[in-house]
């Protein structure tokens, strides 16, 4: 690459300086060009250049000579010709180093007392032979040219002289500061302890040093103690806190052995657990407990629970807190005795309002949590800077030096290797060139696979639909009820297997495409199944006159969802234990392969999302459903962990954990949560609750209870009435919804543009760094050339 071209393109404002350079010869002014505050260690970068310059003098095939302009070639060859180059480079170097020792941050300068084994050092005492690394860098290639008898004087003279000057300069820099400031700077310098103590001795007088209050001043003392204590306690508590974090240690072990993909599944499981826990706590506190304390009068029914009833949710359970039908529509008035005045206060607690508000608010909170975690994962996976910096960070920053126990160290080694292998396989997805025939064949295979999958999905949906219709009209035998849920779960289990088979035949362009396709197919299956069920419940049961058969349709829907959840769990257990276990035996004995099956992350995550969708759909009809889901997730964790250890091995396929986590949270948000929220909103708004049971009987819609409450509140509380009035004007008026949406969209667009602009700037700056280094090289060779020309007979000091 031509130096001139890059030079003019990027340092155009410095052209005038460049002309000065041509006239006045080497001077310190020329190096103002190199004043880049971003470069901390100018010494080191100059070392590159000096090293390169010297290298060029002894190598004959450097690319830079080939690429340089014709004008530069004469003096390059001159450099090659004689050892004069070394003497000139000494003078040049002196100029460079005198400039570079001027203003540096502490990290730039190093006067490490170190004898590098690679360099043959003169036998000076350790205290004195301190070497500046830029000299180290220069010495190395030049040693080949300098004769041995010249070497000691040359090095010692140059070395010591420079070192003395540098120490003095450092000391003088520090002298200007206050004592404590100076000590802080000294401490942060990358020098050896011996050097630091010497500089300290030089620049701070004894009295100043003694006056330094090493104990903190009195008024700060408590603060200092507190901050120290806090720091120590957090460090000591860290292992404890991490044990508090659920399953932290098991997940660390899992990630070490099976990779980040499997870890992302378990992390997702834990996230779902916490979301459900939150949901459960809210409904429990505000709904279940008040109702439990004041049970409504129930019909005399069975008081015992049979096992089958536990599964189907009928019988005793349908008359319990579990389902919607139990909740009364009255305002509970409790008598509360206050402690010193014997007056009873009436604390009314309106159950319908509580029901409505609890469900609404818990959905709202879940929505916010999901959006927040989605935005965080988006932020992590789409970074402004070059993507996939992780590789270099993984190498240099991932080894935890604190770890000292042998098994933990082994785990760390494993973790780092699996991470590196994963990232590598991500990078090496190579495409093969295929002929036209092959591509056509591939297309046919793809089309066939898709047709198969879609057909199977359609068939299963139709099957479920007809089964549902059949179930409603016939009598309710317990096993029949279970049969429908079993069929749905069976489809959920079998069809992904078919999809896997199809994708096994297909050839995808990259492994991640394969994963995305499989996720999409599974998603389609689950959406269609749930869609059919929802349509059946909300569309048919509620509207049709069949509802005479069901005196309490909400209970029925709640029970259906409960059954679906349970059957899903049972089938998963059976599949995990029998399916994977049997597959392993089969592949060992029959196929004689020692390969264990691989943990299918996409499929398992979609199972989790499916279960969560059912929970969200069911919360309205069965407030205790989150508890069932929590228990299910808990057991699932240990079960999957066991089966992983016994039956599965680490996947050799690549898995981009961050992007996948983002995808999963997005899937959790978009079809799953939004779909559930839309159904719930539809139910609350549009559908008439059954008149025989539940807290909303005798109302036209569940939403109406909220309206009634608002009206009641309007009279009693001032602030609330104001809020309600604001709500009526703002939310009901479409214009007020339109404006904020516009504003939000504008803000989003603005941010997107800013991110884009920042990306461009970063790219431009990186290019500039490259070009400036090239320019530096060029200018230093120029300097060398002029040094040579102007002082052809000077000897080095």
């Amino acid at each position: 690459m031509a130096y001139d071209g890059s030079f003019s393109a990027d340092i155009c404002e410095k052209d005038s300086d460049y002309e000065n350079l041509a006239e006045s010869g080497p001077s310190q002014d020329s190096f103002r060009l190199f004043k880049e505050p971003t470069f901390n260690a100018q010494g080191c970068s100059e070392a590159i250049l000096m090293g390169r310059v010297a290298e060029r003098s002894d190598t004959s095939d450097s690319e830079s000579t080939n690429s340089s302009e014709g004008s530069k070639e004469p003096f390059n060859r001159k450099l090659k010709s004689s050892s004069q180059g070394t003497k000139c480079s000494a003078a040049t170097r002196r100029v460079l180093s005198s400039h570079s020792t001027g203003s540096h941050s502490s990290a730039g300068m190093s006067m490490r007392v170190r004898r590098t084994p690679a360099v043959q050092q003169p036998q000076t005492s350790s205290r004195d032979s301190v070497h500046i690394p830029n000299i180290d860098g220069i010495i190395l290639p030049e040693l080949k040219e300098i004769s041995t008898e010249d070497r000691p004087d040359y090095l010692v003279g140059l070395g010591l002289g420079c070192i003395e000057r540098n120490k003095e300069e450092l000391a003088s820099n520090l002298r200007g500061l206050s004592v404590s400031e100076g000590m802080r700077k000294l401490r942060a310098m990358p020098l050896s302890l011996v050097d630091k103590m010497e500089i300290r001795r030089r620049c701070f007088s004894l009295s100043a040093v003694n006056s330094l209050n090493r104990n903190f001043p009195c008024f700060n003392l408590p603060l200092v103690y507190i901050s120290r204590m806090w720091r120590h306690s957090t460090f000591n508590a860290l292992p404890f806190l991490s044990t508090l974090k659920l399953w932290h240690s098991s997940m660390k072990k899992l990630s070490g052995r099976y990779g980040t993909g499997v870890l992302s599944y378990f992390l997702f499981l834990r996230t779902l657990l916490f979301i459900n826990l939150l949901l459960f706590i809210i409904t429990c506190l505000f709904l279940v407990i008040p109702q439990a304390i004041h049970p409504p009068p129930t019909h005399p029914r069975l008081n015992s629970v049979t096992a089958i009833e536990l599964l189907t949710g009928t019988g005793y359970l349908s008359q319990s807190l579990m389902f919607y039908g139990y909740y009364s529509n009255v305002t509970i008035e409790t008598n509360q005795m206050s402690s010193h005045i014997a007056v009873t206060h009436m604390v009314p607690y309106c159950i319908p309002t509580a029901y409505f508000l609890t469900i609404t608010i818990s959905f709202f909170i879940t929505c916010i949590i999901l959006v927040y975690s989605m935005s965080k994962s988006f932020g992590k996976s789409f970074q402004v800077l070059k993507s996939n910096r992780n590789l270099s960070e993984n190498i240099f920053c991932s080894w935890d030096f604190k770890v000292s126990k042998k098994p933990s160290i082994r785990l760390q080694h494993e973790k780092i290797s699996t991470q590196l292998k994963e990232q590598l396989s991500e990078l090496t997805s190579r495409e093969e060139e295929m002929s036209l025939m092959q591509r056509f064949g591939n297309l046919i295979v793809h089309v066939l696979a898709w047709v198969t999958c879609l057909a199977s999905i359609l068939l299963s949906a139709v099957g479920v639909y007809f089964l549902s219709k059949h179930t409603v009209s016939s009598e309710f035998k317990n096993l029949d009820l279970l049969f429908k849920s079993a069929v749905v779960s069976g489809f959920n289990l079998l069809l992904p297997g078919i999809f896997n088979l199809c994708s096994w035949f297909e050839k995808h362009s990259s492994p991640s495409t394969r994963v995305y396709v499989s996720i999409f197919r599974n998603l389609l299956l689950k959406i269609s199944l749930i869609g059919v069920l929802c349509y059946h419940w909300l569309g048919k049961i509620v509207v049709k006159q069949d509802r005479q058969v069901l005196e309490c349709w909400e209970n029925f829907v709640g029970q259906e969802l409960y059954r679906l959840l349970l059957m899903d769990f049972i089938f998963t257990v059976l599949y995990t234990f029998l399916g994977e276990f049997i597959w392993r035996l089969f592949s060992k004995k029959v196929l004689k392969k020692n390969r264990k099956p691989v943990f299918d992350i996409a499929r398992n995550v979609l199972e989790l999302i499916y279960g969560q969708t059912l929970t969200w759909l069911g919360v309205l009809f069965s407030p205790l459903l989150p508890a069932v889901q929590i228990a299910k997730l808990f057991v699932l964790f240990y079960m999957k962990k066991c089966s992983l250890k016994l039956n599965c091995q680490a996947s050799k396929k690549p898995w981009r954990a961050t992007q996948m986590t983002t995808l999963f949270i997005t899937l959790l948000w978009f079809p799953s949560f939004l779909g559930a929220a839309v159904s719930v909103v539809y139910t609350v708004w549009m559908i008439k609750p059954s008149s025989g049971c539940g807290p909303f009987r005798n109302l036209t819609s569940m939403f109406e209870s909220g309206k009634l409450w608002a009206e009641r509140m309007k009279d009693s509380h001032k602030i609330l009435s104001w809020l309600i009035r604001a709500y009526n004007t703002v939310v009901d008026n479409p214009l007020f919804l339109f404006l904020p949406t516009c504003v939000f969209l504008l803000v989003v667009y603005l941010h997107a543009q800013i991110v884009d602009g920042q990306r461009k700037i970063i790219r431009w700056l990186e290019k500039q760094i490259e070009n400036e280094v090239k320019d530096k090289k060029f200018l230093i060779t120029q300097l060398q050339h002029w040094n040579e020309e102007n002082k052809p007979d000077s000897t080095q000091r």
Binding site: A188, S392, S417, E770
Partner: protein
Amino acid sequence: MGNKQTIFTAQQLDAYQDCTYFTRKEILRLFYRYRDLAPQLVPLDYTNQPNVKLPYELIGSMPELKDNPFRQRIAEVFSEDGEGNMTLDDFLDMFSVLSEMAPRDLKAYYAFKIYDFNNDDFICKSDLEKTLNKLTRNELTEDEVKMVCEKVMDEADLDNDGRLSLEDFQHMINRAPDFLSTFHIRI
């Protein structure tokens, strides 16, 4: 704090306190740790600055460093003679830099030195390969190692000279949020 220790003079302790990130107590504790490695070599009186150097084998046998794959490099970087034999000053310096109070730039500088196996002030491909092999205990194949080195050079080498200089390294470290917590030995 008036404690009657006789190992160091007051000036020496002050100097140590000023030049490292340790307090008096910690310096004394570290001295005892140093001494425990070789009680017969290390005198209890440092007031006249004896020239005592512990060989690398003793340093490398410390429980904090015993299984660390980089222990030899750490000892070499912080030792005076570059071979891992450490005086008390080197010892204090090492743990001061590796303590939690040391600033990021300082740690980045020494981390750079540690990973620079051939001591040429650049992390070149061979240094990277050695680092990788130490990190993964030779589990990666030759090809994988080569690919990783190339990719790292692509990512981190800003001035495109085929090796990482100190600025490249520091630039990359600045973007790594967990460097400060991993490059830390608690003693």
